[in-house]
Symmetry: C2
Subunit: 193 residues, 2 copies
DNA sequence: GTCTATACGGAGATAGAC
DNA sequence: GTCTATCTCCGTATAGAC
């Protein structure tokens, strides 16, 4: 089997795992669920991934790393505003995940599972680095909003940006009456622009 | 056994469950863990609660309802600012829970468990009602910040307030280098004041 | 009301044939 | 590499004595 075929099969397994985890949540999803969703067998899954935990880590890494890439892409046409960055984050997650359930599962698991914790720590770290860079270059074009310099301003806004993104995904996943556009409008009202 | 004794025993069980859920996460916590933590037996637990799910719901309800009470208390000395409200929310959770892990577990579970979903829906609904009331009265004292009236302004800010609170708890629970004061300072910079 | 002991089901993971 | 079949453990919940 060529490397390409091997990676294709791994991608197939990850995609099935993503669907299964999203539908039932990480903990309630059994390997049998992934088996059923993928059309493969338990043996096949374990031939490619060490187990459920490794599979979850792989899926999480795939999803989160795309957001960093998207923000860097968007920086091509001039520095994106904080609101634009937030829109990219939430829009990308919406496209990949339909709802935010998988990420909420990931965050919960990261507070209680060492391995997942480390994976999240690393991948959120790089995403935050990309965010920081984007905000810095934007503040550099708006010195009126950054009296202490763009770096300090970006560093200060960073946790809030992350929080607003997490809030969006959380509320979309858990509240029946969540209104995405309303949330982004509210965020726009508080973010610097 | 008097009602007071009965409630005391139930509180004892809830407290043990809270500790156990916080330490290992909801799903990984077994009834045996709660048994060990409480010093009681399985039979005793089931004599007071229908099972793990009901116990989790009871704990969640207890914790969240306190925040509503605290915000209403604070409204006694004049309408609290958005930042004050956020500080009450995060400070209260810090006091009750040490870290935000239990709530992150709750949110994750609410996206995947019908019963927990309904409980969260209701209790977050009332908390949101309290928040809405507090923001309205505050905006009423600051008509310069509410061109469309205090009600509209409060309604718009509501999801952001919730998001910032969730972001605080999430990041505290999952990020090694989280700085609570820095987060609140950053929130203060974006919130109306 | 509370204990001890246990029934019952389901989970993750592996063995061995193909 | 993949399948079928299965092993082993652990979790929830209950039964029955006190």
């Amino acid at each position: 089997m060529t490397d390409a075929h091997r990676e294709a099969r791994r991608a197939q397994i990850r995609a099935a795992a993503l669907r299964a985890f999203t539908a039932k949540g990480y903990q309630r999803t059994s390997i049998s669920d992934v088996v059923a969703e993928s059309g493969l067998s338990a043996g096949a899954i374990y031939g490619h991934y060490d187990g459920k935990q490794a599979l979850f880590a792989a899926v999480a890494e795939e999803v989160l790393s795309r957001r960093g890439a998207e923000i860097e892409d968007a920086s091509g046409g001039g520095p994106p505003s904080p609101l634009t960055v937030l829109t990219i984050l939430t829009g990308g997650m919406t496209r990949d995940l339909e709802d935010g359930r998988l990420l909420v599962q990931l965050w919960a698991e990261s507070t209680v599972d060492e391995v997942i914790h480390d994976v999240v720590q690393e991948v959120v770290g790089t995403l935050r680095g990309v965010l920081r860079g984007a905000l810095r270059t934007w503040y550099a074009t708006r010195p009126d909003l950054a009296p202490d310099g763009p770096d300090a301003a970006a560093e200060l806004l960073l946790p809030v940006m992350l929080g607003l993104g997490q809030g969006f995904l959380m509320q979309r996943a858990m509240l029946d009456d969540f209104d995405p556009e309303r949330y982004l409008a509210a965020a726009a009202a508080v973010l610097p622009a």
